[in-house]
């Protein structure tokens, strides 16, 4: 069945054992994002270091396996990267999500995110996958605004 191709083992693993979950101090910016159609929500904090490096992403979320797993993968993929690198990954992920499962995902950029390519076939779920990533982008922008040194 098709749904099996969506719920890759990687996704279910991240869902059951999310990485980096929990809210940590200190942080540079905190945002709250919600998916109004289903109620999935995430509170996400970022801490930026020198050279625009993302030192930490901490979060508390509630939602389906897709949104939970995607936040866990986000933690793995962006912590330690620079903001431009993280945003490039975000862009690649957004693109993957909008191909309706047709594209050949680039594992080098996407890492574990490739496991989400099955999600792209279900437009209603794409927002679940992107929820934490949109929150991250928003938080990073806020952090950069608040700390002019980072601009």
């Amino acid at each position: 069945m098709d749904v099996e191709s969506m719920y890759q083992e990687v996704i279910l693993d991240h869902y059951r054992n999310p990485h980096g979950r929990g809210l940590r101090d200190p942080f540079d910016a905190e945002v709250f994002h919600v998916n109004p159609t289903c109620g999935d929500e995430i509170t996400l904090r970022v801490t930026l270091g020198d050279g625009d490096v993302i030192e930490d992403v901490s979060y508390w979320n509630q939602g389906c396996s897709i949104s939970q797993a995607s936040a866990s993968v986000l933690f793995d993929e962006v912590v330690g990267k620079t903001v431009p690198e993280a945003l490039a990954t975000l862009d690649a992920f957004v693109e993957l999500m909008h191909t309706k499962g047709q594209a050949e995902p680039d594992e080098d950029i996407l890492g574990d995110l490739v496991a989400f390519s099955g999600v792209a076939k279900y437009p209603a779920r794409v927002k679940c996958a992107l929820l934490s990533w949109m929150a991250m982008r928003d938080a990073v922008e806020n952090a950069q605004k608040e700390e002019p040194g980072h601009e």
């Binding site: 749904v3 159609t37 109620g39 999935d40 389906c64 396996s65 949104s67």
Partner: protein
């Protein structure tokens, strides 16, 4: 006499399509919107191919025919709920119908404050700072947000009746909540998330005794059971066409004639006026006063056909049919380990909106696996987010029924849940 579901299903072309690589479509999302029988599609098309014109706007033959078709639709809908034709206002959906009443309060209040002309009895709609609107904790956002908005703009205060653990209104609190400041009590007839059918007469009598008006959100009752506005005793009732086998883009507000007459206009423009000069306008009598602009003409014709279709089946039989499916669903789901019904578990005073949560599976994930089986349910907060919070669930999975559902559909639901439990390894 039970419904002949096989015959009914053949009236609904969409039910013969398949989904997700050839699966039979098991549509259990009629609470969101229902499908439309051939009779409705045909009536609308026939109208558009023969009598299309702007109703109430011309004297040529097509305009006459269109006006007559539109007004016949109004009369048929009125009869369907035991009302007089002049008491039915067509809106685009139930949401607009509820907003119409909320904006009547707002506009009467604002005009009174500036001594602008108002109908004679409009003071029934003039709010003072601290006046109260009473709703419940099981309202659809459509019967919650408009009142929050009204209060934010007038200084009125929103209160609500809480819920018991078994999904009923906590009426014990009613005596305290209803005060001499209560101007309106607005509540849902059948909850779209819990399935609860509320005791309309009891609440209405107590509201009236305190001098409050009563608005009933009948979105989930009119399509599923016999509803008679006079018997219920309420003052206003709102519902949608698209959930009662009719088209999208049309809803209804019923209001007692004397109340409609006292309400200032909401949406204004053409064909709701009496006289217009650049300086000022006066307004037509209801229902025209509330139907500005070219209305939903062919949709009214379609809704007429939908009401006829349901009447031919017999609304008591429709209710009986759905009651049986509800009982089957409650029993089947409760037979599964880790499944919890959100709403009344008892199949009395409840309709066919069966919400549930499954331990260890988020509703979105459950819905996905069911969808993969061809079983279409709704997942999320069902536009009743505060109700989810009350029961401490982020969302639920909800199955809803209509005349075209049968036992096999319910079986497919229960089996699908079981399969999801296996798939996610929670049993």
């Amino acid at each position: 006499m039970t419904l002949d579901v096989g015959a009914i299903r053949s009236d609904f072309p969409i039910l013969s399509r398949t989904v997700r690589d050839g699966k039979r479509l098991v549509y259990l999302d009629s609470g969101a919107t229902s499908h439309k029988p051939r009779q409705v599609l045909d009536a609308e098309r026939r109208f558009l191919e023969t009598s299309n014109a702007a109703a109430h706007r011309g004297a040529h033959q097509l305009a006459e025919e269109a006006t007559e078709a539109y007004e016949q639709a109004r009369a048929a809908i009125a009869e369907f709920v035991g009302a007089a034709p002049g008491e039915i206002v067509f809106t685009k959906n139930a949401t607009e119908a509820i907003n119409l009443v909320a904006y009547s309060f707002l506009n009467a209040t604002l005009k009174a404050a500036r001594d602008a002309p108002l109908p004679p009895g409009a003071d029934r709609f003039v709010l003072a700072e601290g006046d109260e609107i009473l709703i419940t904790e099981m309202e659809h956002h459509a019967n919650l947000v408009p009142w929050q908005e009204l209060c934010a703009k007038t200084g009125a205060v929103l209160k609500w009746i809480g819920l018991t653990d078994d999904g009923r209104l906590d009426l014990a609190a009613l005596d305290v909540l209803l005060t001499d400041r209560t101007r309106l009590v607005s509540f849902v007839h059948q909850s779209n998330i819990l399935g609860t059918i509320n005791p309309v007469e009891v609440i209405t009598q107590r509201a009236h005794a305190m001098g409050a008006l009563v608005l009933l959100d009948a979105c989930q009752s009119v399509p599923h059971m016999p509803v008679d506005v006079r018997a219920l005793g309420v003052d206003f009732m709102a519902w949608s066409g698209h959930k009662m086998l009719g088209p999208t883009g049309i809803g209804c507000l019923w209001g007692r004639a004397d109340l409609l007459a006292d309400m200032p206009p909401f949406i204004s423009g053409g064909s709701m006026i009496e006289t217009v000069t650049m300086e000022r306008s006066t307004f037509a009598d209801p229902p025209q006063r509330f139907e500005a602009g070219v209305p939903m003409i062919s949709q009214a014709v379609g809704l007429h056909a939908a009401a006829d279709y349901l009447s031919d089946l017999g609304m008591d039989r429709v209710q009986e049919h759905e009651h049986a499916l509800t009982g089957q669903a409650l029993a089947g789901l409760e037979s599964l380990a880790g499944v919890r019904i959100i709403g009344p578990r008892d199949n009395t005073d409840r309709g066919g909106a069966v919400s549930f949560v499954v331990d260890g599976i988020h509703p979105h994930d459950l819905g996905q696996v069911l969808d993969d089986d061809g079983v279409a349910v709704r997942v999320g907060h069902h536009c009743a987010w505060p109700t989810c919070r009350r029961y401490d669930v982020p969302a639920t999975t909800r199955a809803t029924f209509h005349v075209y559902n049968d036992k096999d559909d319910v079986d497919a639901l229960v089996e699908g849940v079981l399969r999801a439990q296996r798939f996610f390894g929670v049993i």
